[in-house]
């Protein structure tokens, strides 16, 4: 293509454009804009305190509809596989029932009273009851159960559902294996209504592991309808398609990146939900979720910015619910990398951590003191042998005894935090300052979620902050994942044969007293070895509009909308 003058004209015009915006213009209008916008800021700031404390607007959503701002999109709709997305897990939990569930219980933990669950007390859900005999548990299904497409739920379907979990190697495969149910031959339909699960060794974990949403059984008819020659269990299909469920809600609509809408299941066998619809809007930014609930645009948010919770509490239109739980916030130290391959160096770090500042200045009181691998609220939690109160003198002495007096000879340390986690970054800054005082030079590295996970799982991180909450409220379940030297999630590569022996001995034991004492013994060893520093136990926080009722705290921290309603 030839152009005779047009290109030249374009250039001239562009030059004219650049020439027309002079430095004087930029300064003149820039300063003017900055001043005027600052005035807007000042005006808004002047007006905002009253606004912050008493939200003028009421809830804008219909009374039969709960609008929830959720943190992200789904990872998969396949119950057997979802591990990384709370909105996906919540959707599955509300659309599928399991064989059994925990009973509700009024609880008081760390001075906070709430309705939660008694994890030692299990009742029927799809099963009207169960009986245990030796190493076998027999579940008897309720009469007339159906999936929401009308297909009857029989014991044979439940058996096939479990078979799929094993064959496709979903996450619940590991949960069942941990409970001595190694393969699908251990799960049998005895007749149309009775399913038997046989353990290789009787244990207390099976019934707890089996309450998780990951054990939800899909209808084999749907699985077969979407199976392919290379994907016998239709795992690809169910990643993006929710199978017909049997829970109190049904999926009404899923718009990727925007919303997941649930509607009440009219044929639900249990107590009918009071809400007709639940709209889960995807709002990844915590500050925006906070604005939305303050203005009544949504009824419920989770994971609010911790530093704003005390302000939100003053708002008469809102309820701030905070749930102490056994979550561990760890300062992780790679036990295979210097200087943390020496116990004294790890202990030195444990003495140097400013625990009180992290509790008060980072979590503003919305966290509990945590002094052990087994946090407060989990059976057998024992803080009695922990003695790492912040003491920089002791820390320096221990560092010297490890051969790194005043940090000399210690390699530079990189403390890695996830870029999307403000609290971890703030805690890292406080830790960095204290470690500098004992001679350890720490640089803080922020990385995105994906590379963080990759490096953590590859045991490539040197020092980092992470958290762990066990969905099963059992000390040996928790320790199996975190301190057993063979655990795939023992990212610090901690290894103590005595601890391993205790894990082997007690994880599947039926001796309740022995398990408690064994757990205390193991905690003592872990505290002494200091593979991680136990920073705090952050609470689970939820903010609701004042007219929203019925929230029940479950250990998996997934919302159960069936109990919720609006006044």
């Amino acid at each position: 293509m030839k152009r005779e003058r047009s290109r030249l004209e374009d250039l001239e015009a562009l030059e004219a454009f650049h020439a027309s915006v002079t430095r004087r213009d930029v300064l003149k209008y820039g300063v003017g804009a900055a001043l005027s916008l600052s005035m807007v800021d000042v005006l808004l700031a002047a007006c905002s305190p009253a606004h912050d404390n008493t939200t003028a607007s009421t809830s804008k959503t219909p009374t039969d509809t709960l609008v929830v701002a959720v943190e992200g999109d789904i990872d998969t709709f396949d119950p057997a596989f979802t591990v990384g997305s709370k909105p996906a897990q919540t959707t599955i939990q509300n659309t599928f029932d399991q064989l059994t569930q925990y009973k509700h219980a009024d609880k008081t933990v760390a001075g906070v009273s709430f309705t939660g669950v008694d994890t030692e007390s299990i009742e029927g859900m799809l099963a009207e009851g169960y009986s245990t005999s030796g190493n076998q548990v027999i579940f008897t299904l309720r009469q007339g159960l159906t999936y929401n497409d009308g297909t009857p739920i029989t014991a044979q379907i439940i058996e096939q559902g479990y078979r799929r979990i094993f064959e496709a190697q979903g996450i619940s495969y590991f949960l069942l294996q941990m409970a001595a149910v190694p393969d699908p031959s251990h799960i049998k339909a005895l007749d149309d209504r009775r399913v038997a699960i046989t353990m290789d060794a009787p244990n207390l974990l099976l019934m707890k592991n089996n309450t998780m949403h990951n054990t939800s059984a899909l209808d084999i008819k749907d699985v077969k309808a979407h199976a392919t020659s290379s994907d016998k269990w239709a795992t690809d299909y169910f990643k993006k398609n929710l199978a017909p469920g049997n829970g109190p809600f049904m999926l009404d609509e899923y718009v990727p990146g925007d919303r997941i809408v649930l509607k009440a299941n009219p044929n639900y066998y249990g107590t009918k939900p009071k809400l007709a619809k639940v709209i889960q809007k995807i709002v990844p930014d915590a500050a925006e979720r906070e604005l939305l609930i303050k203005r009544g645009e949504v009824d419920m948010i989770m994971v609010p910015p911790v530093q704003d919770l005390n302000t939100l509490k003053q708002d008469s239109g809102l309820q701030v619910l905070t749930f102490p739980n056994p979550r561990n916030l760890f300062l992780e130290m790679n036990n295979k990398m210097a200087p943390f391959d020496k116990k004294a160096a790890r202990q030195a770090v444990s003495y140097a951590v400013p625990y009180d500042s992290i509790l008060k200045d980072v979590f503003h009181g919305y966290a509990q003191v945590n002094r052990s691998i087994i946090g407060n609220g989990m059976p057998s939690s024992d803080f009695s042998t922990w003695n790492y109160n912040t003491d920089l003198k002791k820390a320096a002495d221990l560092l010297a005894s490890a051969g790194f007096a005043k940090g000399q000879g210690a390699p530079p340390i990189t403390l890695t935090v996830r870029a999307d986690w403000q609290e971890a970054e703030r805690a890292a800054v406080l830790i960095q300052a204290n470690l500098k005082q004992i001679g350890l030079n720490v640089s803080i590295q922020k990385v995105a979620f994906a590379p963080f996970n990759e490096q953590e799982q590859g045991r490539k991180l040197h020092m980092w902050i992470d958290e762990w909450l066990s969905w099963v409220n059992d000390p040996w379940y928790h320790m199996s994942w975190n301190v057993s030297s063979t655990s795939p999630t023992n990212y610090v590569s901690y290894s103590n044969p005595a601890v391993d022996a205790l894990v082997s001995k007690w994880t599947l034991s039926l001796d309740k007293e022995g398990r408690i004492q064994g757990s205390k013994d193991a905690q003592k060893l872990v505290i002494a070895d200091a593979p991680h520093a136990f920073l705090v136990g952050p609470n689970w926080n939820v903010v609701l509009r004042s007219n929203v009722k019925g929230y029940v705290y479950y250990n998996d921290e997934l919302n159960r909308y069936a109990y919720m309603y609006k006044a």
Partner: protein, 340 residues
Amino acid sequence: MGSTRLLLYAARRLLFIVPVLLVALFLVFALTRIVPGNPVDRVAGPYISNERRAELKHIAYLDRPFYEQFALYLRDLSHGNMGTSYTTAQDVSKDLRQRFPATFELVTYAMLFAIAVAIPLGIAAAIKKDSWIDSVARAVSVLGVSMPIFWLGLMLLYVFFYFLDWLPGPVGRTGSATVFIKPITGFLTVDSLITGNLDLFGQVVKALVLPCFTLGFVAMAPIARMTRAVMVEVLQSDYIRTARSLGLPFRVVVLRHALKNAMIPILTIIAAVYGYALGGEVLVEIIFSWPGMGQYSYNALLSSDFPAIQGFVLLVTLLYMVIYLFLDIANAALDPRVRY
């Protein structure tokens, strides 16, 4: 004859798109693999066996040298396979199809707003040079190019949603709606009208106001400045002076003679800004929780979701080139001096 030449030219330009796409793809392919993190480790989690992890990497070609990975990606692409996203677990092409309408609707309305304001403002500023309206045009331009888009979006949200409560918050395309419709075209303003759902239409329009203004304001600056600069030059031309001395009405002189001749650079800048907006409205989508391609690509970047990042770059590059193709054709229609 002219139309044949035009078709030949368009065909040549279409062919030219291929090497440009290859270069763009190569660059993004290389960059995604230099950055630490790989999607298989993220998706697989800690629980699977090393054998299964290796198998997954093999399926995704991640166990092969870089050049082989690139060649295999091109082979799949030539069969219409853009790969499967690790974040959404479905075909990238399907992901992009689902999210494109949200982005296209937002960018199109933002551009219409920007053009509707910027061109008249630029013309007025050129006619009334150094007057108050010229100052307004300069102020808009300086603010548009200097104000960070995320800051503008957040401030608008704070004022018009949180403080004044006139417009919905950052909850995506449907604002405060609690009743939805099945998409027909994917453009919610259109779909809500087709289905006669005026309540939803109102919510959708309200939800569009702030993101469109945010994006439109930034897009407005270069268009207004370009319009002003070119119109000032054109209005000083001999033929304009001649037209005016012949007694033609000023409106006719400006709109029919001056503006038409000034349109080529203005169209060029509009095309550039439109292309930029399609690929660069990521921040706007994040701020307003807008379920479009921008947010998709942002999540893909955070998750090291290679196929999704590559698919996004491929589509945006393609769109950019198609826009420029249309621009050149439009230039030809406007300017008889343009030959092929």
